[in-house]
C-alpha cells in the first residue's frame, strides 16, 4: 500500500467502507475495519468515519463487533447524536442467545460514556443483573458503577442498590467482588457500602474462592467493619491468620492492613501481626520484579518507623545487588541505616563502603550520606571510612564526603578534630557548588583548627569574580567574616577585598545586601560582630534527633498498602536537604533584618481537635525548633499570656497551670505577607519549659514558608519579651 497522509487515509478508508462490494464480502469488510483501527492506534484522526463505522457494527462476526466497539467508544464523545444509532444494535445484542455477545454489548453500552444515552442503558442493565450467565452479570454489576460515575448527582435507584446487595450472595466470586466495587462507587457519598455483621461473615467465608485481586478488594473493604465484641474480633483474626502469611504479597499486605485497622485499640495484637509478616515481607523484598521489590522496601520503611528492631537480624537481605536500579539501592541503604546495631555495624559499614565507589554517582553519594547517618551513633568508624574515601580524589565522592562531614559535626561536634585534619587538600578535588559550600562552612566554623584555612579562602576570593554559584558567594562572605574574627591578622586584607568586590561590583542583589550588612555590622565594633556571628547556635540535638522515637502504628496505618509510601521517601529527603541548606545560609542573619512586613490573623479558626490532628501529622507540616531565653515566662498567669498573645493575633489553645514542670503552651496563627500575593500559611506552635535556662519553641507550618516562620518567631519573641519586662516590673513593685 502506498504511503498516504492522514487525510488521504481517511478518504480511502471511507470509500472502502461504503463500497457495497466490500460490505457484501465479510472478509474484506473486516479487513477494512482493521485498517481503520490500525490508523486510529497510530494516532490518525479517523473520527470522520464514525457514521460508516456505526453501520459496520450490525454483524454476526464477533471480532468485527469488538473492533467496531473499540472505535465507537473512543469517538462517541465527539459524536453524541450519531451514537444514538448504535444503541439500537447494542440493545438487540443484549437479547442475543450467546452470552458472549450479551456481555460485550452491555460492556460497550456503558463504555460509551454518554449521559444522553443513560435512559436507554438502564433497562438492559437491570436485565443483565438477572442474566443466567455469570459473565453477563459481572459486566452488568460494574455497568451500574459506570453509570453512576457518569452522572454522580443523579438519584440512586434504591431497587438497584438492593439488587446489588443481594448479588453479594451470587455463586460467582467475581460477581460478588464486582458488587462490592460497584456499591463502593455508587454509595460514595454515604461513605461506601454498608458493612454489617452478616455481610462481613459472608465475605470472610467466601474469601478463599476469589482470586488475588478479589481477595485484596474484600480485605480492603472489610477495614471499615468494627466487630461488636472482642470474641468476634478474635474469631475474625484467627480466620485471617492464613492470609496474613499468604505467599501472595498483595494478599499479605491487604490482610496486614485489615489487621492494623481492626486492632487499632490493641497495640499488642498489631505488633504480633507485624512480627508475623516479617517472613513474607522479606520474601517480597526478594521478588523478581523490581517494582514489587521497591514497593516492599517502601512499606518496610513504614513498619520500621514503629518497630525499628523488626528486621535487625536480617540486615543482609537488604544488601544491594550489582545490577539493581539506583532507586532500589537507595531505599535499601535507607533501610540499612535504620537497622544498624552493635552486632552488625562492622559488616554493614563494610558493605556500605563498597557502594561508595558505585559507578552511579547518585548511588555513591547516597552511600556516603548513609555512612554519615550511621556516624551519628558510631562516629569513629564512620569517620575512618569517610577520610579514607577522600584519598580516592574523585570529585563527586569528595563533595559528598565533605557535605556529610559538615552535617555530622553539626550533630556531633566532638568529631570536629578528625574532620579538620581530613579537610586539608580537599579544595583541589572539589568542583560542584554544594561541596564547596560545605567546605567553606566547615572552614568558617572550625577555622582555628585548620591551619591552611586562610590560604584556601584566598583562592576562593581571588576567583570570586568568575564564581557563578550564589550559594558559594554567600557562604564565602560568612566564612571570611567568621575567620576574620578568630584569625584577624591573616584574613583582614582579603576580607576587605571581598567586601569591596561584593558591595561595588557584584551584580546579585542578595550578595550585595549581605555584604553591606556585614560591612555595617563591622562598623558597630568587633564585639557586636562576634555576638552576631559566633552567638548561640540552636541546640543540635533538638533539630536532628539521633534515635528517633518510634511512632505509634496508627500514624502510618492508613497509608499502608497504597501509593503514598512509594512517593514519601523522595519528598522527605528533598525537604531535609533544603532545610539544612536554609539553616546554614541564614543562621547568622539576625531575624529582624529579614522579616518582611507580616500580618497575623486568627481566621479561619482552628478547633482543638483539628489542632491535635495537624500537630501529630508529621509529614504534612514543616517543623522547626528554636530556643529562647525567657526563664520567667512560666511564672506569668495564663490570662495575661493569652491576652498578650491575642493582641498580636496569636491564639493560645491549651496550657498547663503556671509553676508546673514541664510547662507547656500550644498556640496557632495564620501568617500573611503584607506585600505579596495572598499567601497564607498556618503556624502551629508549642512552648516547652522543662526547668532549664531556656524556653523551647517548636513550630510547625503548612505550607512551608521560611520567611513567614522567621517573621512569626520575631513577633513571638517580642511579645514574650514585653511580657517578661512587665512581669519583672510587676514583681519589683
Amino acid at each position: 500500500m502506498p504511503y498516504l497522509g492522514g487525510e488521504d487515509t481517511v478518504r480511502e478508508l471511507r470509500r472502502a467502507l461504503s463500497n457495497p462490494n466490500v460490505q457484501s464480502d465479510q472478509l474484506r469488510y473486516r479487513n477494512t475495519i482493521l485498517k481503520v483501527i490500525r490508523a486510529m492506534s497510530q494516532g490518525v484522526d479517523v473520527s470522520g468515519l464514525f457514521s460508516d463505522m456505526v453501520k459496520a457494527c450490525a454483524t454476526v462476526d464477533i471480532v468485527q463487533k469488538k473492533l467496531v466497539y473499540v472505535f465507537l467508544c473512543s469517538y462517541a464523545a465527539l459524536n453524541p447524536e450519531l451514537s444514538l444509532l448504535v444503541i439500537n444494535t447494542l440493545r438487540k445484542d443484549c437479547q442475543d442467545p450467546n452470552p458472549m455477545v450479551r456481555s460485550l454489548a452491555l460492556r460497550n453500552m456503558t463504555n460509551l460514556r454518554l449521559p444522553s444515552l443513560m435512559e436507554y442503558v438502564e433497562q438492559p442493565l437491570t436485565a443483565g443483573l438477572r442474566d443466567r450467565a455469570a459473565c453477563v452479570r459481572r459486566v452488568a454489576v460494574l455497568g451500574w458503577a459506570k453509570l453512576h460515575n457518569l452522572q454522580p448527582n443523579s438519584e440512586i435507584d434504591a431497587a438497584v442498590v438492593n439488587e446489588l446487595y443481594s448479588l453479594l450472595r451470587d455463586p460467582d466470586p467475581v460477581v460478588m467482588v464486582n458488587c462490592l466495587r460497584a456499591l463502593e462507587e455508587i454509595l460514595k457519598e454515604e461513605g461506601g457500602i454498608a458493612i454489617n455483621k452478616p455481610i462481613t461473615h459472608h465475605l470472610l467465608n467466601r474469601l478463599k474462592e476469589s482470586d488475588v485481586w478479589g481477595q485484596c478488594e474484600v480485605l480492603r473493604i472489610l477495614q471499615r467493619y468494627r466487630p461488636q465484641s472482642e470474641d468476634e474480633l478474635f474469631d475474625i483474626l484467627s480466620l485471617l491468620d492464613a492470609s496474613l502469611v499468604s505467599p501472595h504479597p498483595q494478599v499479605m499486605a491487604a490482610t496486614l492492613s485489615l489487621f492494623l485497622s481492626l486492632c487499632s485499640g490493641l497495640p499488642a495484637v498489631s505488633l504480633a501481626a507485624l512480627e508475623r509478616v516479617r517472613g513474607p515481607l522479606l520474601a517480597a523484598c526478594g521478588s523478581v520484579s523490581r517494582e514489587l521489590r521497591f514497593t516492599a522496601l517502601c512499606h518496610i520503611q513504614l513498619l520500621l518507623r514503629s518497630l525499628p528492631g523488626l528486621m535487625g537480624a536480617h540486615y543482609k537481605r537488604f544488601f544491594c545487588g550489582y545490577a539493581e536500579p539506583a532507586y532500589i539501592k537507595q531505599r535499601k541503604m535507607q533501610v540499612l541505616v535504620e537497622l544498624v546495631n552493635d552486632d552488625n555495624v562492622t559488616m554493614l559499614l563494610d558493605e556500605l563502603k563498597g557502594y561508595c565507589t558505585d559507578v552511579n554517582t547518585d548511588t555513591a553519594q547516597a552511600a556516603i550520606s548513609a555512612i554519615g547517618r550511621i556516624g551519628r551513633s558510631y562516629s569513629d568508624r564512620c569517620l575512618e571510612i569517610l577520610t579514607g574515601l577522600l584519598a580516592l580524589k574523585q570529585e563527586h565522592i569528595t563533595s559528598a564526603v565533605v557535605q556529610t562531614m559538615r552535617d555530622l559535626v553539626w550533630v556531633c561536634p566532638q568529631c570536629s578534630d578528625t574532620v579538620c585534619l581530613a579537610l586539608e587538600g580537599c579544595e583541589e578535588t572539589l568542583q560542584d557548588s554544594q561541596g564547596r559550600q560545605a567546605l567553606l562552612w566547615l572552614l568558617g566554623v572550625y577555622g582555628e583548627q585548620v591551619s591552611s584555612a586562610p590560604y584556601t579562602l584566598e583562592v576562593f576570593i581571588d576567583g570570586v569574580r568568575s564564581e557563578v554559584s550564589l550559594g558559594v558567594k554567600m557562604e564565602l562572605l560568612t566564612t571570611t567574616m567568621r575567620l576574620f574574627l578568630c584569625r584577624p591578622a591573616e584574613t583582614q586584607d582579603m576580607l576587605g577585598r571581598l567586601l569591596h568586590y561584593c558591595i561595588e561590583e557584584e551584580p546579585d542583589m542578595c550578595v550585595r545586601d549581605q555584604a553591606l550588612l556585614y560591612y555595617r555590622l563591622l562598623h558597630c565594633g568587633i564585639e557586636e560582630t562576634q555576638k552576631v556571628l559566633q552567638g548561640r547556635r540552636s541546640d543540635p540535638s533538638l533539630g536532628v534527633l539521633i534515635g528517633r522515637p518510634s511512632e505509634p502504628i496508627s500514624q502510618w496505618a492508613c497509608s499502608f498498602n497504597t501509593l503514598e509510601p512509594l512517593r514519601q521517601g523522595t519528598v522527605e529527603t528533598d525537604s531535609t536537604i533544603s532545610a539544612s541548606r536554609c539553616t546554614d545560609a541564614s543562621a547568622d542573619v539576625p531575624a529582624s533584618s529579614i522579616a518582611a512586613p507580616l500580618s497575623l490573623s486568627l481566621s479561619p479558626a482552628l478547633s482543638p481537635e483539628e489542632f491535635e490532628r495537624l500537630w501529630l501529622q508529621r509529614q504534612v507540616l514543616h517543623s522547626e525548633q528554636e530556643q529562647i531565653q525567657f526563664p520567667a515566662i512560666p511564672h506569668c498567669s495564663p490570662q495575661s499570656l493569652q491576652a498578650a498573645m491575642q493582641l498580636v493575633n496569636i491564639q493560645t489553645l491549651a496550657f498547663t497551670p503556671p509553676h508546673t514542670l514541664p510547662w507547656r503552651v500550644y498556640l496557632y496563627t495564620h501568617t500573611q505577607h503584607a506585600g505579596d500575593s495572598p499567601h497564607i500559611t498556618l503556624i502551629l506552635g508549642e512552648l516547652l519549659y522543662t526547668g532549664e535556662e531556656e524556653l523551647k519553641v517548636t513550630l510547625k507550618q503548612q505550607p512551608r514558608d521560611d520567611k513567614a516562620l522567621k517573621g512569626f518567631l520575631s513577633i513571638l519573641t517580642t511579645v514574650l519579651h514585653t511580657l517578661v519586662t512587665q512581669l519583672v516590673w510587676f514583681i519589683a513593685r
Binding site: 483501527i37 492506534s41 450467546n98 459486566v139 478488594e217 504479597p249 545487588g321 547518585d362 497504597t562 501509593l563
Partner: protein, 424 residues
C-alpha cells in the same frame, strides 16, 4: 486498585495501544510521561512512580516497551504493578515474545485481551488459560459460529475445561531449583537461597485427579512443623488447583491439573548452602600496562554428579586489549562488548578443580571514567540433583475412564543470581 487507563508505549514514548477504563484521567496526560521519565533519569531520581500534577504514572519496562497505568487516586501500588506484570505474562503467552512488533502485529487480540482483563479499572479474568479458550489468535480467520462462552468462565474447575482427549496419557514433572548466592570479595558468603519450583506438563484426557507424594523431609519443611531438624521453606506457593485444605489437614497434594504446561508449586528456602561451584580469583591490575587474571573453579557437589554448560564470566576493564588465555579445561573467550571473559566448561564433574589464566594489555593512557566493580557470575546446570533434597515419591493418576498414565520425573539444579564479588 483502580487504574484509570493502561498504555503500552514504545521506547520513544509513542502510544502503541491504550485503553481508557474509567475516564477520570485525561488520556492526553500520557504525553507528559516520557519527558518526566527522561528528566528523572537525568537527575538520577528515577522511580517506578512518576507524578504529573494529580496524575500518577506507574510503569514497568519490558523489552522495548513501557507499560503504564495512570491513576489519580491513592491506589494500591503493589496491585497495580502485579497487574502490569500479569499483562506481560498474558501477552507473552499469546505472542511468545512481547515487544513492539508483536503488539503491532496482533493489536486486534491485544484490544480483545485488554477488554477482558480489566473493566472499570478492576481486574476481571486474568488467567491466560481461560482467556485462551475464547480469545484466539486466529482472529483474522472468519469464524461466525465460534465463540461460545467456555464453560470455564463459570465452571467450578475454572482452570480446566471438559472433554480434553489425548491418545497417550502422560505427565511430565520437572523439579527445578535455582541457587542464588552472593559472595563477598573476602570469600565469605553474604547471602544464599534456593528458589525451587515443580512444573507440570500434563497430557491427560478427561478430568483426572492427581496426587503428588513428596519425601517426608520436604513435607515437614513445607508445613513448618518439626523446626529442629529441617530447613523451613518460606514463600511456598501452590497453583490454585491444589486443594489447600487437604494439604493442611493430611499433607497430601491433590489436584485436578490444568492442561498443558503449568507451575504446580514454588518455594524459597533461605538457608546457608555451600556454593556448588566455588570460585577463587586473583585479578592483578598493573596500571598502564596489563591485567592478569587467575580463576580457580571448584565443584563442591557429589562426585557422581556433573555440572553441564558451566560458564564463568569474569569482568575485565573496558579498555583492555590483546587477550591471551590458558585453561586447564574448557575454553575461554573474550567478549569485548560486555567487557567479559567467558570461560566455558561443557562438563564439570563434582569434586574437581580447574584453572584459567588470562592476560590482557592495557593502554598507556588511562581513561578518566570511573568503572564499577562488576562481580564474577557463574552459570551452570546440574541434572538429576536437587540441593534441598526434595524428591517425588509417587504421582497417582485417577480418572473415571480408568486409563493408564505414566508420570515422568526430572530433577535439575541450576544457577540463579550467582555472584562473587572481586577485589579490583
Amino acid at each position: 486498585m483502580s487504574a484509570s487507563a493502561i498504555f503500552v508505549l514504545d521506547l520513544k514514548g509513542k502510544v502503541l495501544i491504550c485503553r481508557n477504563y474509567k475516564g477520570d484521567v485525561d488520556m492526553a496526560e500520557i504525553d507528559h510521561f516520557m519527558p518526566l521519565l527522561m528528566q528523572h533519569e537525568e537527575e538520577g531520581l528515577l522511580c517506578p512512580v512518576l507524578s504529573h500534577g494529580s496524575v500518577h504514572f506507574m510503569w514497568i519496562k519490558h523489552s522495548n516497551l513501557y507499560l503504564v497505568a495512570t491513576t489519580n487516586k491513592n491506589a494500591n501500588a503493589s496491585l497495580v504493578y502485579s497487574f502490569l506484570y500479569k499483562l506481560v505474562e498474558v501477552f507473552t503467552e499469546y505472542f511468545k515474545e512481547l515487544e513492539e512488533e508483536s503488539i503491532q502485529d496482533n493489536f486486534v487480540v491485544v484490544y480483545e485481551l485488554l477488554d477482558e482483563l480489566m473493566d472499570f479499572g478492576f481486574p476481571q479474568t486474568t488467567d491466560s488459560k481461560i482467556l485462551q479458550e475464547y480469545i484466539t489468535q486466529e482472529g483474522t480467520k472468519l469464524e461466525v459460529a465460534k465463540s461460545k462462552v467456555p464453560t470455564t468462565v463459570t465452571n467450578a474447575v475454572s482452570w480446566r475445561s471438559e472433554g480434553i482427549k489425548y491418545k497417550k496419557n502422560e505427565v511430565f514433572i520437572d523439579v527445578i531449583e535455582s541457587i542464588n548466592v552472593l559472595v563477598n570479595a573476602n570469600g565469605s558468603v553474604m547471602s544464599s537461597d534456593i528458589v525451587g519450583s515443580i512444573k507440570l506438563k500434563t497430557m491427560l484426557s478427561g478430568m483426572p485427579e492427581l496426587r503428588l507424594g513428596l519425601n517426608d523431609r520436604v513435607l515437614f519443611a513445607l508445613t513448618g512443623r518439626d523446626k529442629g531438624k529441617t530447613v523451613v521453606m518460606e514463600d511456598v506457593k501452590f497453583h490454585q488447583c491444589v486443594r489447600l485444605s487437604r494439604f493442611e489437614s493430611d499433607r497430601t497434594i491433590s489436584f485436578i491439573p490444568p492442561d498443558g504446561e503449568s507451575e504446580l508449586m514454588s518455594y524459597r528456602i533461605n538457608t546457608h548452602v555451600k556454593p556448588l561451584i566455588w570460585i577463587e580469583s586473583v585479578i592483578e591490575k598493573f596500571s598502564h600496562s596489563r591485567v592478569e587474571i587467575m580463576v580457580k573453579a571448584k565443584g563442591q557437589f557429589k562426585k557422581q554428579s556433573v555440572a553441564n554448560n558451566v560458564e564463568v564470566r569474569v569482568p575485565v576493564p573496558s579498555d583492555a586489549d590483546s587477550p591471551k588465555f590458558k585453561t586447564s579445561t574448557g575454553n575461554a573467550k573474550y567478549v569485548p562488548e560486555k567487557n567479559l571473559v567467558v570461560w566455558t566448561i561443557k562438563s564439570f564433574p563434582g569434586g574437581k578443580e580447574f584453572l584459567m589464566r588470562a592476560h590482557f594489555g592495557l593502554p598507556s593512557v588511562e581513561k578518566d571514567e570511573l568503572e564499577g566493580k562488576p562481580p564474577i557470575t557463574v552459570k551452570f546446570e546440574i541434572p538429576y540433583f536437587t540441593v534441598s533434597g526434595i524428591q517425588v515419591r509417587y504421582m497417582k493418576i485417577i480418572e473415571k475412564s480408568g486409563y493408564q498414565a505414566l508420570p515422568w520425573v526430572r530433577y535439575i539444579t541450576q544457577s540463579g543470581d550467582y555472584q562473587l564479588r572481586t577485589n579490583v
